[in-house]
């Protein structure tokens, strides 16, 4: 099977006041196409760093990251990302936020091919953006500014924006960490709906076991620093899932056990 994303032998070392620190060591992972894969791990284990490396925002000290057969060198709209903090451009409306990636693409293509702008380009961009705004359930809010939106709505716009450029993979770094519990549950359900409709490959970082059990096809458990994967658990619960079912609890317990494993006792897999 062709993997969508491969992470091979990634190691991350950085210098700090205490000397050299290894954030990640020997990280391996394979992500299947259209799969929803969650990465969980204790605080500071490096899961966010790993995700940022997939996004191209940071470089590994050694190892490689390959998407669709091509190595990752830097950020690109090919790998969409949703951050934990609210990241909408406050000076742009919802519509203009979602259009952002398309606008940049248009400028780049315009330079290369001599087109991409102009009236037809604008119209296309608008239609694509409106489609994704509808997908995240925010039709009617196109002309609103971020300051007028609730936390949950902001993250939905962020998702729409990341999807608008039709990336090969969607990276999410605890995207629902800044909203309240109820909104969180609602957003999780909506995310699953979006995933099912778009068939995107999603790599989702969280430290909530509950969230991982509810969302993921597979859950990869990262050890404490220096981080590596110690377990990859298939969550074969049928969807739609019940958060409080017996089976869900079983998975929860297994994951918690793996999470609590001491670093010295853990063995990196793959």
């Amino acid at each position: 099977m062709n993997h969508k994303l491969e992470i091979r032998g990634v190691t991350q070392v950085f210098s700090s006041e205490e000397g050299e620190v290894k954030a990640l060591e020997g990280v391996n992972l394979e992500v299947r196409p259209a799969e929803f894969l969650c990465i969980i791990g204790p605080s500071g284990c490096g899961k966010t760093t790993l995700l940022r490396m997939v996004a191209g925002l940071e470089q590994p000290s050694s190892g490689e990251i390959i998407l669709d057969g091509k190595p990752v060198r830097g950020p690109s709209p090919d790998r969409g990302m949703v951050f934990q903090e609210f990241s909408l451009f406050p000076w742009r409306t919802v519509l203009r936020n979602v259009e952002f990636g398309l606008e940049i693409k248009g400028k780049v293509e315009g330079k290369v091919k001599g087109k991409g702008g102009g009236e037809s380009g604008k119209k296309e961009r608008r239609e694509v953006a409106e489609k994704y705004i509808e997908l995240v359930g925010l039709r009617g809010f196109e002309r609103h500014y971020p300051y007028e939106l609730s936390g949950g709505m902001k993250q939905r716009v962020a998702i729409a924006r990341a999807l608008a450029t039709e990336p090969a993979i969607l990276l999410m770094d605890e995207p629902f960490g800044s909203v309240d519990a109820q909104t969180r549950n609602v957003l999780q359900e909506e995310l699953l709906g979006i995933w099912q409709r778009t068939r995107k490959t999603i790599l989702f970082v969280t430290h909530s076991v509950d969230e991982a059990v509810y969302l993921a096809d597979r859950v990869a458990v990262m050890s404490a620093r220096p981080g590596c994967f110690v377990k990859c658990l298939e969550v074969d619960l049928p969807r739609p899932r019940k958060r409080t079912s017996v089976e869900a609890n079983e998975f929860r317990e297994k994951l918690l056990m793996w999470l609590s494993l001491e670093r010295s006792k853990a063995a990196c897999i793959f």
């Binding site: 903090e85 952002f100 940049i104 300051y147």
Partner: protein, 257 residues
């Protein structure tokens, strides 16, 4: 601007009170038109001077335009450099902080030699006044661009300093640039009298106040022009706020709340 009903026109009360106090003190307490010209005399002077007043105001606005326009044109690119790059900031900031406290007045002798008695000499003094507020507020705006916004831009394809500045940093910093420009305009206008003290032109509010009314001890005219200086500044400020800041600040209101 929508104000609650009790606050509409609130500003009129102290203003009228001050005017009445002024007239009263001038007529019954000070009784010396040189020490304190009457408010009514000052208002009459504005009327008496109306022809030359308009010409003077236009010339002062010319000097102001030259000074502020130049200040903006020089400060903005420098602010982008200083705000965006720590290295540029560290390299340039000491020079900026050295020059900043030098009062515009102190630049007059140099201005006279560099620009002779032209409108540019006056514009230069106003430039000195307006430049630093614009620079500092602007580079602060650029420096404060949140990292998450820049990274969001990157993952959406905004790669490279130029694109990042154009699509992320500049829009974010624009309200700060506007504030700096407004403050700079205020300081620049305050330099008009200094800028026009040395006969760079036959017209100008500062010129006439200092070289004509002062030397002929025409204190009611002096105060009249002082009022005009204040009123023009007020108008410039309000106009700027209305046309520029109301537009740009819509979204910032949401953040600051």
């Amino acid at each position: 601007m929508r104000l609650p009903r009790e606050e509409k026109g609130l500003w009129l009360v102290p203003l009228v009170a001050v005017i009445l106090l002024w007239e009263f003190s001038a007529v019954f307490v000070v009784k010396d038109p040189l020490k304190l010209p009457r408010f009514s005399a000052v208002v009459f002077s504005i009327y008496a001077l109306r022809d030359v007043l308009i010409a003077d105001t236009l010339v002062s606005l010319l000097h102001f335009g030259i000074g502020v326009g130049l200040a903006f044109a020089v400060a903005l690119p420098l602010a982008i450099g200083m705000g965006w790059s720590r290295r540029v900031f560290k390299a340039v900031d000491p020079i900026v902080e050295l020059l900043r406290p030098i009062p515009p007045l102190a630049w007059i002798p140099l201005a006279m030699i560099w620009f002779h008695l032209t409108h540019y000499a006056a514009g230069f003094i106003i430039f000195i006044g307006a430049f630093f507020p614009i620079l500092i507020d602007s580079y602060t705006g650029f420096r404060d661009v949140p990292k998450v916004l820049v990274e969001t831009g990157k993952v959406l394809g905004c790669i490279g300093d130029r694109k990042q500045i154009r699509f992320v940093a500049l829009p974010y910093a624009l309200p700060s640039v506007a504030t700096g420009t407004r403050v700079g305009m205020g300081v620049g206008w305050m330099c008009v009298v200094a800028a026009e003290m040395f006969a760079v032109s036959d017209y100008g509010l500062g010129y006439r106040l200092f070289q004509k009314f002062y030397f002929l001890h025409q204190m009611d005219y002096v105060v009249a022009y002082m009022l005009v200086l204040g009123l023009v500044a007020l108008c410039l400020d309000r106009l700027f706020r209305h046309f520029v800041e109301e537009r740009l600040f819509r979204w910032k209101k949401g953040i600051v709340k």
